[in-house]
Every structure is written in structure tokens, then in C-alpha cells.
Subunit: 320 residues, 2 copies
């Protein structure tokens, strides 16, 4: 990258890209211009740091780029908003091969397209390790869906996979990167696939009272809904169990229920629906909102940590 | 920060803050919601890396926070937009003192307020050194002002100081951090003060044809206007010279014109105005747009580099 220079690099990153309808002015000026047809927009930002959130020997650059976009897009969709644009700030060592950046940017664009948006601009700087900071924008569809609207009696439901990323991380940590039988969960760890359409295609009449994406772990993220809403949440362990994880857990001598309940980074969506609501396509009921506070599993407190915290006990993981 | 944890830290960063009118929903949910009364918004992002863009022994955390916001706000204002909100992603080592983050966030809020906006949300992660990624938003006032509208015969004008940050960097590099006679330029290097109001209070009838902020160096940034507009720019060295820099340059045996023409990070604004336009308050004419291409000083090519490039020859500076 030192040989190419910042401006040539940015030109290369944007060559041949066509910007979506939401981006009125793309890269090349002091700032981009993005449409906000609703008169407001939703915005979320996340930073990914090499050897903390990804490892260059475990993921291809395409995977890292896709993951960075997916986790931000999931935050926007979790507000009930449709992704419209992303901006990306990238820090890299000067000796970074240009092919790495090409792959990263290709992965970002692929996931941005999957989310229905494009990349409106960014910044490239020199840094000792790879750092990726993504800011995501979205157009609210009607009202925004907050974490704070869950009420006693609501149904708790989930769209998307749970525990797959944690299972993949466990497989990678065990040195099983090339093992065929772990291929699916390792792919899920490398690139989460948030089921955007399960949210964006919800029928307008759906009585959805609260929503979040599962980034820190199901129990941790449901505890945010419970706290914001002043309620308790009880999860039915039989309803969340995923038989596809059992052979992986057996091989690694792990507890698949722990992955499902406390594993982060799958970026599934968790929501609460009004008591009488028919569960929409792509969603499955996994529990119920009740009075009280906190999160329960089958009526009891979960004995371990509920999920991941950035400055908490991160050392037990090889990477997060 | 390890002791406090991510969520307590974020709570602490937001305690007692009141969010401005543009921020409809602040931190605490999956995403923030920001108003876009014009039906569109301007967005810019920049990343600052420890020991590359700032040094912890040269700047207080308040200064670093203010600088991070100022350079992003300047990009938004350079489009002719009024800053409305910022989001901040922050990477820090786990052993970072909480007082450092307190100072950083206070500096960010102070500069955000000076720009007329507030901080709508962010992310905090662990990283080997301090990394700050800011995304800034603004409301366009009428049409956006691009780099591409300059025409033959236009007047080139500047609002704000030039060369002060470069002079301050030179003084710091010479080990003159405590020297009273360098205090003003060192302060200017630590915290740029973009003259937002010179742009935001431009009379509506002002015929402004192109604008940018001076982040890489006056000649470098004018060359972007020249290239985007398909014109040449000629700068009058007598008009840009700043007598206040002469004693500093004499003491450091440096060329003050080099600082003024190629020093970055002052975040002054450079613009072109239609030929007959009266120069507005806060602005001074420094040159003229002409046919051709590239940037000239008193009719001749500048013999050295025009300014700063991220992956270019950065090693001659102690920090950028």
C-alpha cells in the first residue's frame, strides 16, 4: 500500500462500483451525501481490531470485510430500518498487500449488496495492525423498533441461527480449520449471515414490541431487552436447541446449549411479539416475556456468564 | 477500563449529556436515530491512530478528542452543511485509565458543541493502541458545495489559519513543548479550530463555486479543487504569508511559507467565489482560478511536495 499511495488506493477501491439509489454523492469529495426519504435515519458504528475480532490466518480478507458490514447492518435492521449506506474507515500497516485490501473491499461490497445498500465513502490510514471501523445507515420503515417495548405476556422469537459462530470459533481454536465436518460452523464464524429479510419483509400489521440483534449472546442480548423494558424474559431451552450442533459439540466435548444461549456474533434477530400475534415466516418462538427482571432459562437463572463483554473476561477466547 | 467493563464505560461516557435537536434517539439501543430535515444528509469519516495522528505525551486526552471531532466536522462544513451529530468508535488497551477516556470524551463533546452538534452514539473495543474513528453528519443548507465547481476567473479565498499546525508540530519535534514563545502554534497543532461560522454564516446570495477544508496542505487541497473542476489555481504568496509565524520560523530555522502552503491539519476552509463576488466576512482572497491544470504559486510550480499523503512520505514527520 505504501507504493500505491492513499489516493490511488481509494480510487482502486471504488473503481467500477455503482452506488445505490440512497447514495446521492459517493466518494471523492470532502463528504458523501445520502438520501433520507423518511426525514430521519438510523445510524450504528462498530470497530473490528485484528487479533481481537478476527485473525488473518483464520479468515480470508473477503470474510473479514463481509463480517464487518454484516454486524453493522444487523444493528440497523434490528431497529426495523432498511440499510441504505455504509462508510468505512480502514487502518492498515504500510506493508499490507494491495490484494488484501482488494479482498476486504470486495467482501464489504458483497455483504452491503446483500443488505440492499452500498458503500458511500471512507478513509484509509496507516496503523500498526488492521483496524476496520464501519458506520451503517438505514431508513426506518414506519416507526423504529426499540429494545424497550416488551410487555408481560409477549412471545419471544428468533430469526436466524444461534450458536453456530461460537461452535465455529471452538472448532478453529481446537485447530480444526480444515476439518470437513466442521466446515459449516467455521464458515458461520467467519461470515455471519444475518437474516435481514426476516425483519424487512415482516407484514406491516405485525405487532412487534421490541427487537435486537444477537451480537453478544442470546441471553446477554435478551437481558438488554428485559432491562430496557422493565420485564423478565424466560427462554425455553428445548425451543432454542439446534440438533445440527450436536455432532460438533460431541466431537469437541462441548455443551451445545451453552453455544446457543451465550455464543455471540451470529447476528440472528431476537424480538418480542404481542401475545396474540401469529409468528411470522422465518421466525420461531423460543420463550415468553413475564413480570420481574432478568433472564431465565426454563424458569431458572443461567449459572454462567450471559455472553461477551468487550473489556470483560475476553481472555478465555482465542479471538473476539 | 478492564475493571469498569464496556457497558459501565458507555454509561459513564453518556452520563449527564443532553443531546441536541438533531439526535432523536441517543445511545443505548442497537442504533441511534438522527433527523434529516432536508431529506438528505452529508456524512464523512476519519480514523486517528496513536503515534500516527497524535502522541499521548504531546497532547492531553481533551485535545485528542477535540481534534478528532474538529477534523470530521470540517469535512461536513466544507460541503456547506451544518454539523448535526457524530458517532465515535474507540479502541483502547484494557489498561487505559478511565480518566483518559473521560478527558477524551469531554474534548469530543466540547468540540461537537462548538460545531453545533452532539454525539449520538458509539462503540468501545479493546485494541493494542488508541484508535479513534469518528463519523460526522450534517444538514445541507440549500445545495451542497462540491470541489468541482471552480471556473476560470473565480477568486480563491481562505477562512482560518494556515501553517500554524505545521509550525506547532515543528516546535514539538524540536523538543520545545514547554517554550512560551511557541505556545500558540503548539496549541493550534494540538487542537485545530476550524472557523465553522465563516462558512455557516455565509450570506445566502454568496456565489461560492467550490470548497474544501485544508487538511493535507493548502496546495494539496487546492490541487483537488483544480483537478475536480478541470482548472488551474494560482496562489499569491504575499496574500497567504502570516507574519505571526515569522518569529517561530526564525527560531526553528524553518521556512514559514512552506508551513503555510503545504502544512496540513489547520482545517481552514478554502473556496472559490464567482469573479464579481465581494469577499465575505472572515475570508481573505489568496489567489485566482485560471485555465489549465494544477496549482501554481506566483505563477510557478511549487518545487516540493504539495502536502501530506497517508501512505506516502510520512516518515519525515514525527507524527501525522
Amino acid at each position: 500500500m505504501r507504493d500505491l499511495g492513499e489516493f490511488a488506493l481509494i480510487e482502486r477501491m471504488n473503481a467500477g462500483r455503482s452506488f445505490g439509489g440512497g447514495v446521492e454523492l459517493g466518494p471523492g469529495d470532502d463528504a458523501a451525501v445520502v438520501a433520507a426519504p423518511a426525514g430521519r435515519y438510523v445510524v450504528s458504528t462498530d470497530m473490528l481490531v485484528q487479533d481481537r475480532h478476527f485473525r488473518l490466518d483464520w479468515s480470508r480478507p473477503q470474510d473479514i470485510g463481509a463480517k464487518a458490514i454484516a454486524q453493522n447492518a444487523a444493528d440497523v435492521v434490528a431497529m426495523g430500518a432498511a440499510p441504505s449506506a455504509f462508510v468505512v474507515a480502514l487502518g492498515c500497516p504500510a506493508e499490507t498487500p494491495v490484494a488484501f485490501v482488494d479482498g476486504l473491499v470486495d467482501g464489504m461490497w458483497a455483504e452491503a449488496r446483500r443488505a440492499g445498500a452500498s458503500i458511500a465513502g471512507g478513509d484509509v490510514v496507516r496503523s500498526p495492525q488492521v483496524v476496520i471501523s464501519v458506520t451503517a445507515f438505514g431508513d426506518p420503515r414506519g416507526r423504529t423498533v426499540l429494545r424497550s417495548g416488551a410487555r408481560d405476556g409477549d412471545i419471544v422469537a428468533v430469526a436466524g441461527r444461534l450458536g453456530w459462530s461460537a461452535a465455529g470459533l471452538a472448532a478453529l481454536s481446537a485447530g480444526a480449520a480444515g476439518a470437513e465436518r466442521f466446515a459449516d460452523v467455521i464458515a458461520a464464524h467467519r461470515v455471519p449471515r444475518p437474516p435481514y429479510s426476516a425483519v424487512l419483509e415482516l407484514p406491516d400489521a405485525t405487532e412487534i414490541t421490541a427487537m435486537t440483534d444477537v451480537s453478544d449472546g442470546l441471553l446477554a442480548d435478551l437481558s438488554h431487552i428485559a432491562e430496557s423494558s422493565g420485564v423478565a424474559v424466560d427462554v425455553d431451552s428445548a425451543a432454542v436447541a439446534d440438533p445440527a450442533l450436536s455432532p460438533v459439540a460431541d466431537a469437541l466435548h462441548a455443551d451445545p446449549l451453552g453455544w446457543v444461549l451465550t455464543g455471540g456474533e451470529d447476528h440472528a434477530f431476537a424480538a418480542t411479539f404481542g401475545a396474540g400475534t401469529a409468528i411470522p415466516p422465518g421466525w420461531r418462538a423460543i420463550g415468553r416475556v413475564c413480570t420481574g427482571s432478568g433472564v431465565f432459562v426454563d424458569g431458572a437463572r443461567w449459572p454462567g456468564p450471559l455472553g461477551w463483554e468487550s473489556f470483560g473476561g475476553g481472555e478465555q477466547h482465542a479471538v473476539r
